[in-house]
Symmetry: D2
Subunit: 459 residues, 4 copies
């Protein structure tokens, strides 16, 4: 049929090969693949399926392959994926004995093992990069414990808070991310090797010892589950998505805080760029870029879950779509987190701008609290204060300028000492319950945060 | 302006109220809200902000409100949300003293507390329902340890496996879900109460004691973070999404296994339905319905993450969109999981159909393993076996019907004992390494699974 | 087995019924269902499968059922879905002849028809609500053609623009949404009735006439496709998602424009709310709420696409999950769009705040253009202007305060007439190419927009 | 500060550059960028802003740059993006006059124009590849008009259908995709050039002529909208997502149809692969791979919509995240669609397997229709037939083996001619209303489909 002539078919065959092959993206698993094979050779040797000499020869050969990858001298040969590439090269080096390495092992359990080994290491990198961001937040918070700025809810001025308190609020969100990564790492460190294609291995491999050799404390309990389980990938992508959400919130805050109308902080010049048309611009590109990356990460999560939806059990080739979203997400975090640490380190706060944005109306709650302390039920106190805020507005004066008799007309409880309310330092210092914005509380938060990071470094 | 005439504006105002109000869906938080308020009254009383009498009166009033909700006798009054509804009714019951309950508390920390309390309980329900599904899997697996069926990869027959092994592969996926729910519950049980609107409370509340009173082992470390953190909701929706993915896989397997061409299992009649047009049909509606629910749950996760993306810190009203996806997901699981347990309990396996679908070609790997056991490198053995499979195909006979001389023509290693390979029981029994499909291994899996469930019940 | 005792099973059976039944949400299809049945009765009558009397009796009966739904007097009887409910009631009214209505019709083609009929009408409602938002934008833009405010890119001040120009930028985004809804409506108006369960109808129904009777210009070309096609639902959810994205952008803009540091506009009080703890607050809740709804709509889209992914062809019960996301999205738009129209109508711009935020540096591009007009290549002009902006910054003066000799030191091209550049009205008026911010161009935009709406109203 | 020492900062600066720069992925826009610049030079020349010589020199220079890209000889120089790369190289070639090309143009309107030009061309490619898939479906359908196979609903045998009817059901889904791509292309072909950074151009560019020169029939009506509008990207990603959904359905169908228990079709060997462990396997990898790609495309859509959510108006750097999901999706379709066409072309149907799977119970509806033709209301006929199906099942015979007296015991209407019902050809031929499965209808479908493709080719 003319439509399906030769040249078209050639193009299709090329595309089919491209669709099927994964070497172009899974070659980065080489170290994990070789590590897994080295351990597996040892396990085969323990059962007598390899002689000591065969085992040593295979291990030496694998080391050479690793070396070639490390040095960039590995020669491709149209390999389908990283596993066949390593096996092909190993055979070239050690001869047919290489064929024994695959005894009782399937690509299904091999690829699952490789991906887990790779991810365990990658989670470590993400956690370290995230810790650097957290350390930058602590540094900045410690260095500016005296700065008071407006706190906002609904993007409207609400109550005064310490700049450091805001910085630490970001720290704790990232700390939850660290915990989720811990949990994810624990569930990733479960070894599927020895599950065969789907039904287990008929050879007396000591799977627990093999797992331990690979740094994994547990083995997968069921071979059919082991070859299809990609929960650990999804869980990492979700943890990354929440990191992305937290980054997007921080970026949004900083874009607004550094922007016109606030200018509470200035970003390091290296994190802003100019305009091709408007010479006066300094744009917070770094923050917009990291905010935008949230979409990419969430897209990767949705993509993987969509792949998994409705798939029958055990291995199906659809699962080949697990790697690129995972790699892309890890790369994205590896790019974004250090930049974010740099941005935070570069922030220069402007005490004047912060102070200038404070407004006496932000102490209205403190005014209500004054009444509460003198026995007025809070709801009534809230009501009275509302009246006073409106009175001040109507008269075009600030809340602290209302004369005492006006206050007393609303509530007889007011006394001359009410004037002391209108002091932002005092307002901040009053919030001294744990987690509040008082300087002493912030200091405790920082101390606790330091401990978290130190414990994490040790772990 | 004519376009914005009065009646149109009325409609808009109604819709604005509807958009703003959440009582229609957050009323189900009533027990959590009241529980939080009872504890908070105690905390205020400890600091002297409430007298013992006021405290008791408030607690008695709250108990009455709870009773009214429990009995369905609570009278709505156009309340904006559950918090104002409870406060309004409490005021009706105990008078202005009710106003003291809100001392130092904001709706921002209150709603975060309520939602966490509600979710902690809900996670318990999901875990219990999931455990029932797991128990059904164990029951079924224990009862049919002798059944061998084809195991598939790529939906193609691969190797024989125990029906029980397949059942247990589902168990372990759900067990990972249980672990994720544990982790999520731990992170949900962090008490934000005492964070005020955003900056903390100025009153000397003992937050740790208050949290303990509410069954939460930890308090939130930063007030600005506490009022905006919805990570726990996202984490639950993600855990639910993976449950959904696992359910979709199980449903897909069962739809195919019970369908034409296999008929390995029959579903209980109550889980199938007939056709309005085709009287002979028995459709696996229950399984299709639960598979379809995966979309709904994943949609809820994406919806919430989209809400959170790019939101500035602390409370923004967008966060009101956290509840409906959460409630819907919890309701979905509460409907789906028991049905799934019922479906599993109702499965009647057909030994004849399973046996009939077994094919000697599924023992090709065992044929290769025979050679491996006799010293042939696996890759070579795989190659030889491939030849034999094709030979058998060409001659229109099954693999076991190939005469010994044909085997020996491919490899001199073959001997008369090769005939023993062609035995499905033997093939299954050989996979006796942990996690494999051998009956003894399956028994160990089941024993281990029992222990997991028992430990979980105790916890 | 104790675990599966009677009471538990009862609960499961109840839940199975709840899972399976759709009457609680698909009852709102009643008018569409009845309309479809009336037309179908006519089609059967045309072929002689119903006598004229039977046909009339069925149509009268259906009208009565419709009436009962309209009046809220319809009595449920544990009906599985709207189709069985209508059929059951019709049978009660007209007797066994009702059974003839289902000749050659399956629930598969019936439900697809109903959903399309419902959606066609619903799209009309969305388009009308969206047109009201667009009309509000035009009204507001027409009323304030003299207001100049800073235009921002990257949330940094860039160039002066007309407030009206910004308003109209929102108009056009919604106009694209209108076009997408047109396209979606066209593809929804394809009639699947007469496709049977999957293979078509054996009765000589005139499908084209039947479609026309139902207001649909086309019939589905393939019965297997017709009963599984839910593209129209996905397409509506996507169109709604982009509406949501546009709303989220408008809300973000207005939250920032009405917030501290700008106060360019004030929202009508009915669209803001106060704080339970901070009496001075006016929060833009309406805008935050509509912004948050974006997540919900996007979640619905993802949910449906996930349901469809990997589903085999023709009808599968998973498709029952098409309705709730569709209904929820339509309801969301029906609530959100009128509120948005109200918000826009309520906006009161503050000329002083806008003018106060204009900054001479925003005319730097005009300064560069001055040089370009005098033959300097733009890149060089941009460079020179960049220098001047920095000079002014260093000296703490505004760009227009730089003396002529300083300008001339950078470029000899500058002359005394350069002073005329520093005029915001002039800068705005210069952008007079189509689509630019000049007042005359804005007037043309408004005229064109009026025409669009009028044409839409007529259609 | 020790933490932020020099080497760390260098790494951050490198990553910031990597984060910010887009040349590595946007270089593929070179042809679009140069095409846009050539047209823009012409437009500037028309207004007198470029002399004829300058214009010609710029155009010649741009042609040279294009040539260098085409030939792969373009030398990078650490360029930020494709626009600066082209501008830098052009300046090297033609000197400072190159700087005049950017008069009144901003990167904001330039990048939007480039992306639209690129996408318009890309949509053409997708449409052509999709047409090849459709042509393959038609070819296959035409060649096998006599094959009857079971039609399934709920994956259960339902009614006999033509294999060709099933093939054509896929055709029409793809045809809707073609229409959506048409609509998307129309909305993409709107020219934003002349919008400047956000406020329009102050130079008297004839935007309509410029758009026409670029093959775009319309110009963007508002400059602020023009620089932020990415609806066209989202719309393409949605159209691609539905293509993905349709592909996933086709793949699911074919995996099941070619799998064990059916074997209705065989895939070309080049579209299947073997197993590393199980020599007898032929796995439908091509179909699993294309099914898996659905996740990737949907992920791209969700990613982009997440980027857009909550973004303020005009240009924000987050928008740089629009390109990679778009490029990846286009590349995915360019790989997947030709493979799919190849797979379809390679399908070899097995008439015996299809016939063998037909079951007399699939004619139960025809039995009911027999009664309807003789005046029995359908619901009653359905009921009677249901009884007969059960009777046959109980007696272990097929439906056609029920003796006439048994039929008549259920309904006196049955006569000897009822035996004629049990004929699959007859059953298929009866569905002759438009869109039904009768051979003549299928032929009409095919003819109509041919016309669609021809019309599309002409357009």
């Amino acid at each position: 049929m003319s439509l399906w002539g030769g040249r078209f078919q050639d193009k299709i065959d090329d595309l089919m090969k491209q669709l099927n092959d994964s070497f172009r993206f899974d070659r980065r698993l080489y170290a994990a693949d070789i590590r897994g094979s080295v351990a597996y050779a040892g396990a085969l040797s323990d059962t007598g399926l390899l002689t000591d000499e065969e085992c040593q020869s295979i291990i030496d050969g694998l080391e050479q392959v690793r070396q070639e990858f490390n040095e960039g001298s590995f020669q491709e040969a149209n390999d389908e994926d990283i596993h066949t590439a390593v096996e092909r090269r190993l055979t070239e080096i050690v001869g047919p004995a290489a064929g024994k390495l695959h005894t009782g092992r399937s690509r299904n359990d091999q690829v699952a093992t490789d991906l887990r080994l790779w991810l365990i290491e990658q989670i470590g990198i993400v956690q370290s990069d995230l810790a650097a961001v957290q350390a930058a937040l602590i540094d900045k918070a410690e260095g500016h414990l005296d700065l008071i700025m407006p706190g906002y809810t609904h993007l409207q001025p609400a109550q005064p808070v310490l700049f450091s308190h805001w910085l630490m609020s970001v720290f704790w969100a990232f700390d939850r991310d660290q915990e989720r990564l811990d949990d994810c790492k624990r569930r990733t460190a479960v070894c599927p090797l020895g599950s065969g294609a789907l039904s287990g291995t008929p050879f007396p491999i000591d799977r627990t010892a093999l797992a331990a050799e690979l740094g994994m404390p547990a083995i997968s309990p069921n071979s059919m589950d082991a070859v299809s389980d990609r929960d650990f990938v999804a869980e990492f992508l979700f943890a990354a998505s929440l990191i992305g959400i937290h980054i997007s919130r921080l970026a949004e805050d900083l874009i607004i805080m550094s922007g016109p109308g606030r200018r509470f902080v200035t970003l390091g010049e290296q994190y802003t760029t100019g305009s091709s048309l408007m010479p006066q611009k300094r744009n917070p590109d770094s923050l917009e870029l990291v905010r935008g990356k949230t979409g990419r990460i969430l897209g990767a999560l949705v993509g993987l879950l969509t792949v998994l939806k409705g798939l029958p059990s055990t291995y199906n080739k659809d699962l080949q779509e697990d790697k690129e979203p995972l790699f892309d997400t890890a790369d994205t975090l590896a790019m974004v987190l250090p930049v974010l640490a740099g941005v935070i380190g570069s922030l220069v706060p402007s005490p004047d701008a912060m102070r200038g944005a404070l407004d006496m109306a932000m102490l209205a709650t403190d005014l209500a609290d004054y009444l509460v302390d003198r026995g007025v039920p809070f709801r009534e106190a809230h009501h009275i204060t509302g009246h006073l805020v409106r009175r001040a507005e109507e008269q075009g004066i600030t809340l602290d300028q209302l004369p005492l008799d006006v206050l007393q007309a609303e509530s007889a409880v007011f006394d001359a000492d009410a004037a002391a309310i209108f002091d932002f330092e005092r307002a901040v210092s009053r919030r001294a319950a744990p987690g509040g914005t008082a300087p002493e509380t912030a200091r405790e938060q920082i101390a606790q945060a330091h401990k978290c990071l130190v414990a994490r470094n040790r772990a």
